[in-house]
């Protein structure tokens, strides 16, 4: 495989590309043409996929063809944008990468699913979205069997998280947990231990907040809407409760077989109230502008030394670990999501998988699969870590010294995965998940802004979500 020389100047890439015209999916070329190509391409593609999987040779992946990927402005795809030209050379074809912000991607996937033929060959799916998207995605199991794709190297939770009802709907490319990052230097200086419980977090935040000019205790997602909504249910998971009434198991909850009676919201519960109070308490030790802070800003503030702790999706640690200018570089320790009283330490697993839309042109499937296997291959995974994606869902890559050097967080996450501390029931794969998140993201924002008490906020959220579930006809 061709190695990139890291001295080559990287092309400037924006956080996400604004391409208004592609909001309207492009029409495919003549379907007659694609029909004519079906026979040929299936034969070749299958052969090539075998070859690529067997030898790791990527030179012939695209064979002059074009692949269309709908993706998100998250680290792994931002890396792909950075090394886009090199990747096209490696793949021997054109890679059309449409990168969207979270909410726009979600909208685009739903709209694309209404088209008779998908405008994209491959789409990026967030782990909790599988429930919502399950009817729009192709079952990859037949392709896995057919091509002998090795599945055992992936983290167990990441691999099974992409399954719904026994179907494998995606291949993990950037699955990562949300964990807590803390400044080891500041903690040592203050004589603090790495936080284990939510009370530890509050105590440390209180002690470190304003201990230096411009230093806040903790940065986190309190922006209205999806950022806060997700934060709420993820933190509630650390208080030992899923957002809906899922069946309990030894280690947490089961999302394998969700029945209508499991859809009852569980916000107005002791765990829900504890979560609301915890978030409210964090407000006192948060950086300025916390009410508008989301994924990008919290990491930036932490990277610049503006906060002693931050919740962080582990892959994003590259933002400071790879940046020589960052104050936090090399000084950060990582722990699993701190837990509430009587709850187990567990970090929500999220992040991105690659899947194939079920309405894709049949003739495109072999090519799409071949590209997925290439993009998720160990070689490519290692490549991504060099350019700002500190994620490896593959055990084989996670212990690679070069990877560990770039991304200290990777072995930590690998260890969490081995200990079974990563879970995905905090954001259960149900179609109404985004609505739950939206209600919490708006009601809890009112609480944080001081317009509701925590008691009132959990009650109101409970009622609104209950109405949504009834309207959907679950009970």
């Amino acid at each position: 495989m061709k190695q990139n020389t890291s001295t080559r100047p990287l092309p400037a890439v924006t956080v996400w590309e604004a391409k208004p015209q592609s909001l309207f999916p492009r029409k495919r070329h003549s379907s007659l043409l694609s029909l004519a190509l079906v026979g040929v391409s299936i034969g070749f593609a299958t052969l090539n996929a075998h070859a690529a999987a067997a030898t790791g040779q990527a030179g012939s992946v695209l064979d002059g063809q074009t692949i269309r990927i709908l993706a998100i402005g998250d680290p792994v795809f931002q890396v792909m944008q950075k090394i886009h030209d090199d990747m096209e050379k490696m793949a021997g074809g054109k890679i059309e990468l449409d990168v969207r912000p979270f909410d726009v991607l979600h909208q685009q996937v739903l709209l694309n699913a209404q088209n008779p033929t998908s405008s994209y060959d491959i789409i990026a799916i967030d782990l909790p979205q599988f429930g919502e998207y399950k009817s729009f995605l192709l079952d990859l199991n037949p392709l896995i069997k057919q091509t002998g794709f090795d599945t055992t190297d992936f983290h167990q939770a990441a691999w099974t998280g992409a399954q719904v009802g026994g179907k494998q709907l995606g291949i993990p490319i950037q699955p990562h947990p949300e964990i807590l990052a803390y400044r080891k230097d500041l903690f040592e200086e203050a004589g603090l231990q790495p936080p284990v419980t939510t009370d530890d977090v509050l105590a440390a935040a209180k002690k470190l907040h304003n201990s230096k000019p411009g230093l806040a205790g903790i940065a986190w997602n309190a922006a209205r809407g999806t950022p806060l909504g997700q934060t709420f249910i993820q933190v509630m998971g650390s208080f030992g409760q899923a957002p809906i009434d899922l069946p309990r198991t030894d280690h947490g909850f089961s999302i394998d077989n969700i029945k209508p009676e499991n859809m009852k919201p569980m916000i107005d519960t002791p765990a829900g109230l504890a979560t609301a109070k915890y978030l409210k308490a964090l407000m006192d030790y948060s950086p300025p502008g916390i009410l508008n802070m989301a994924w990008d800003e919290r990491v930036r503030v932490f990277a610049q030394g503006g906060a002693a702790m931050t919740y962080i999706w582990s892959g994003r640690s590259a933002i400071y670990e790879l940046d020589p200018q960052a104050t936090a570089r090399g000084k950060v320790g990582y722990v699993v999501h701190p837990h509430g009283p009587n709850a187990a330490p567990v970090s929500p697993l999220g992040g991105w998988n690659l899947g194939i839309p079920s309405n894709v042109d049949k003739s495109r499937i072999p090519l799409a699969w071949k590209v997925i296997t290439w993009l998720t291959s160990p070689e490519m995974m290692k490549e991504y870590t060099k350019y700002g994606d500190c994620v490896s869902p593959r055990h084989s890559v996670s212990q690679d010294p070069e990877v560990v050097m770039h991304c200290p967080v990777v072995p930590v996450v690998d260890e969490m995965a081995s200990k079974g501390e990563l879970a995905d029931w905090q954001r259960p794969p149900v179609p109404e998940l985004q609505q739950i998140v939206d209600v919490l993201g708006s009601v809890m924002h009112e609480m944080l802004a001081g317009k509701r008490t925590p008691e009132d906020a959990v009650k109101e959220s409970q009622q609104q979500i209950d109405r949504i579930m009834r309207k959907a006809g679950y009970y």
Partner: protein, 311 residues
């Protein structure tokens, strides 16, 4: 003067006995406008009717099930939806503030630019730049400018000795920040329309006013302002309707926060329709919003059409 009648399909006055010809002429008229009529109908009416249709259904984009008829329940639900009421209120606040300030500023600037000073033409072109930028980009830029941790506005403020201002996270201030951004983007447009209107004002009327004994301020209130009335109303319609529909700034800058203080109607509609994604409920909201836009614009249009004469 005789009112001139234009008859595009005849060269002379129709003769009383040429009824047949008149019928044929009318048929030709219809035939000629039919294609345009059909296209207009398709483009304008169909989406509205379809929105009405959807608004009477329970339709979740995320579920494979087809839409289910739900009667008026979406509207009924809207009626009790405090968040909807709040968003309408916020929208109205936003329109009044943003458009009000844009009108006043644009009006004043138009007068400044109307003076024949050196370099005014260049300056005029420069001021137009903001309105050429995509609103999404404007929102992103100002989101970072107003940001409390690394925004340039706060940086300057702190350098000058102030304390950090929560531009985007404190209720009234957040709305004002979005208003300020909208004003930044659209005042030049308002200014340009007023400038063009000012340029078109007949100079001789001002001379008549001087002979009739009006002072500068009296000329402004009794001649200029009444003469600019059509331009004022047109700008009001365009900007008010535009402001009512705009969601880009809120999307980029606050997502409706804090606590819904900047949640304008289009943003609530967008989150409901595409994030939740409850299409039926969103469509009901869209229908009500359409009604609101229609009422609002009709109010102004009626003002514009009434050739009210003041003495």
């Amino acid at each position: 003067m005789e009112a001139s009648r234009t008859d595009y399909f005849s060269l002379g006055e129709p003769k009383p006995d040429s009824m047949k010809l008149a019928v044929e002429r009318r048929r030709a008229t219809w035939l000629l406008i039919a294609p345009a009529f059909v296209v207009l109908l398709g483009l304008n009416l169909f989406p509205i009717v379809y929105a009405l249709y959807i608004s009477c259904h329970y339709w979740m984009l995320a579920r494979p099930q087809p839409p289910r008829f739900a009667g008026l329940s979406n509207y009924q639900e809207l009626f009790f939806d405090a968040r909807f009421r709040n968003s309408v209120l916020v929208s109205l606040k936003f329109i009044v503030l943003a458009v009000g300030i844009e009108m006043l500023l644009g009006f004043g600037l138009a007068f400044v630019f109307n003076t024949r000073l050196r370099g005014m033409a260049t300056l005029r072109k420069l001021t137009l730049l903001p309105s050429l930028v995509m609103p999404l980009v404007v929102g992103l830029v100002w989101f970072y400018m107003f940001n409390e941790n690394f925004g340039i506005v706060n940086w300057f403020w702190v350098v000058l000795g102030g304390t950090r201002v929560p531009f985007l996270t404190q209720g009234a201030l957040a709305l004002l920040s979005i208003v300020a951004t909208d004003v930044w983007q659209w005042t030049p447009f308002v200014m340009l329309v007023f400038f063009a209107a000012l340029q078109a004002l007949p100079e001789y009327v001002y001379e008549a006013a001087r002979i009739d004994g009006l002072s500068g301020s009296q000329i402004f209130f009794r001649v200029t302002l009444p003469l600019l009335r059509p331009a004022i109303l047109i700008v009001l319609i365009i900007r008010a309707v535009d402001a009512l529909r705009s969601l880009e700034l809120v999307f980029m800058m606050t997502k409706g926060g804090p606590a819904g203080d900047t949640e304008v109607l289009p943003w609530y509609l967008y989150t409901t329709g595409f994030m939740s994604p409850d299409l039926g409920y969103a469509a009901a909201m869209a229908v009500l919003m359409l009604a609101l836009v229609t009422i609002l614009s009709q109010l102004f249009v009626r003002q514009l059409e009434s050739r009210e004469v003041t003495r």
